[in-house]
Amino acid sequence: MLWLPSPATFTGEDTAEFHVHGGRAVVRAVLDALASMSGLRAAEPGEFTRRAVLNGRMDLLAAEAVADLVAADTSRQRDQALNQLQGGLSALYDGWRDRLVASLARLEAVIDFPDEDVPAEVSAGLAPALAALEREMREHLGDPRGERLREGLSAVILGAPNVGKSSLLNALAGTDAAIVSEEAGTTRDTVEVAMDIAGFAVTVVDTAGLRETGNGVEGEGIRRARARAAAADLKLLVADASRWAETVAAVAALQGEDAVLVAGKADLARPPAGAEAIALSPATGEGISDLLAAMAQRFADAWENAGLSPSRGRHRSGLLQAADALRRCRGQLHGDVTLAAEDLRLAATALGRLTGRVDVEDLLDVIFREFCIGK
């Protein structure tokens, strides 16, 4: 952890930076742990930039430049951003927000007009409506695809030792699809290459060979390889065309819809007839374009509607806040209705932060449209 005292920081305020090891899971775990601590919350959209502006560390032009830096790497990411800009996710969240506001209006009508003609069944219908809304939010939250697409997908090369995995990685790195990074030192314990495959940002990672072993260091490598395989969006399973039967057995258990089987060293031998594998010969370049096409196809199949899942942590945390507030609200519906309303308001505000503001006039409009209020 790095402690940066004010004022010479990005925002001009005291800042703590966490530098953590490893991949997304670690980052997620750290963020989750921080979010659960009282007094801590995720920054609002642009809040760091806003604070920097507020504290005179940055003017608006610089703030815009920061936004420009957060640019898409690939066409799919750009499309996703465009889709979001044009309201794909907004329509979904606004729809939820409208339902929250409608429910809140019902509760508020019960609270603000206790003597009047608000039918008793008004609050009765709330419990199932809110339960359905919370369920939809949690299902949406359970879909990681949008966020993965934005952050980039991963493909892992797996196979027994010495079947041509490194050659495969090198071959991929040599194609036009590889994204050449200016940044040095981004790879550590695995060898990887960033690629743009049909618009998907993909990191292809080589791993240690899969084999039963007692060797400590190698054993650890294999354990990590299996872990990477489990988290990967696509597995590139490599077997040696010249030792097909024994090397294909090492990856047989990993076959599936999220895997592509590659026959390595195809310049030395051909894979047996009937083996559904892409024959790859790095030396001649044979099979590389087939492999890229196969990878693109798998990604396209699996990520068809990825635009409609949360695309970044901020959405996830806003939605989670909304869903949690909804759960608390449902617990209060038959208790203190003021607290139920407060939680609904928090839920609507959390969603509103994703799309725009919640205005009390919206609420009053619904109340007066739906109920005949007024002595």
Binding site: G39, E44, P45, G46, R50, V53, L54, G56, D59, L60, A63, E108, V110, I111, D112, F113, P114, D115, E116, D117, D336, V337, T338, L339, A341, E342, L346, G356, R357, D359, V360, E361, L363, L364, I367, F368, C372, I373, G374, K375
Partner: protein, 620 residues
Amino acid sequence: MEPSRSHDVIVIGGGHAGTEAAAAAARCGAATLLVTHRRATIGAMSCNPAIGGLGKGHLVREIDALDGLMARAIDRSGIQFRVLNASKGPAVRGPRAQADRTLYARAIRDLLEEQEGLGIVEGEAADIVLDSEGRIVGVALADGRRLAARAVVITTGTFLRGMVHVGEEHWPAGRIGDAAAVALAATLERHRFAMGRLKTGTPPRLDGRTIDTAACEVQPGDDAPEPFSWLSGPVTVPQVPCHVTATCRATHDIIRANLHRSPIHSGGIDGIGPRYCPSLEDKVVRFADRAGHRIFLEPEGLDTATVYPNGISTSLPRDVQDAFVATIPGLARARIERHGYAIEYDFVDPRELAHSLETRRIPGLFLAGQINGTTGYEEAAGQGLVAGINAARLAGGEEPFVVDRADAYLGVMIDDLVTRGTREPYRMFTSRAEYRLLLRADNADLRLTEKGRGAGCVTGPRWRSFCRRRREVETAMARARELRVTPDTARAAGFDVNRDGRRRDLFELSATADASPVRLAGLWPEIASWPAHALLQVAIAGRYAGYLGRMEADIAAFRRDEGLSLPSGLDYGRIGGLSSELRERMAAARPATLGQAARLPGVTPAALQALLAHVRRRAA
């Protein structure tokens, strides 16, 4: 009283805003004069005979916390007290009382007479007098008298070009039986105040002796009437029940058949009416599928038979009112004493005002009450109080007294009005307050009295009573943290808590469903000697614990934005990154702080950033 003498503050209008304004200015030490058409109508309730309710009851408690009149007046005149929402949680409990009109007006007049430094004069204020720099220096009366003052508060309610409608007939009037204020409207127009037109309605008044109450549902008051004011003793006015009935299909049929004769539906009225207080003809049109609408039969007093049928305000012709009233259960033979009417009136766009309720156009001129587009006695009185305090402070050369949205419903109301304006008569609702759990009727004094003492409007007796109460609350709150018991002890005393080994303090136990003063005193005998009001604060703090913490964080963020003031001469046309619509809106509203800008309709976080960056660059 000598009308020719110079005053610090002159208040025009003797309604709920005007009386609070005059009393508040005088409490602050200003030599104050109240100018009213007729002394006899001071403190008149021209609409329904009730004070308080949701949001409104909160306002009355806040007025009391600032040593105002309304709470004490209703405590001396209330004939039925009810705490609304008693079962729905402490934050939304709204005290409400039916008033005896005569007693209420008398109580207000008595309180005004007791007030030192306050004079009253009858007359029509025709114009305001300005010096060569455009500052207010006094008031000109219609009879030619001129009264000098350093600050003037106008509280003319619905009298600005008031127009009464009953069916096809209409005539100018401030309220039935009183003249409209036409000259003053022209004056405001001449000074180019942005004006609008609103309408409101009243129901026919009934002779209670001709109502068959046996055909109605009885609505009793609370067993133990809860006074509004901390200074009032127990309520001694005799208490009476109200009755409830409802319209039926036959009522609606008559209204539908005569809609073309309603000035609202035939186009005779263009003013905008409130959505929450529609006329009966509006209800029938908009909610055509409803079989009936409730009507509350509210007695207007102990010595009068007049009943106010709350829920059937109308401006239909007299013969239609006679016909539809007769279809209502219990009212078959009811005699109408005075027919219902609608009134249209001018109001000043409240965005003309600063948070002190001083107009931006004329320094020293303050506006309060319905003239600012609000409805309701409580809303009017609250504004009057704030305007009166600020008029006195201006006259004394002091800074404005402003309460914000996190202080009080008063702050919510005034901020809504002066930053957003209003398109319909503005009424308080608890849903308007974003810090609702904090802004409760039970803690209005804890939120405001000390602030009011600082502003000079809280006098000695109130201050001493408040200090005692606050000390009792603070003692209880401090002690509540120290009083802790194991689950087994709590269970033995009748609290159904889990045996999880966790010790619980008084906050937590008093928030449980099993809590009662007696049961808590069973655990800690000292509690038996605590005042009920102090134990209530402990129980509420326990009940809202998690929520109040979060709210206080929100308030800190809110006040940070409020602390960022925007220069008054900002040229919004030169701010890059703002849509032209937002530029216009901001230029019209001239927000004083970043927080106020944020609350303007349609303002996005990006627009705020653009605004802020522009201000920073300008300052650099």
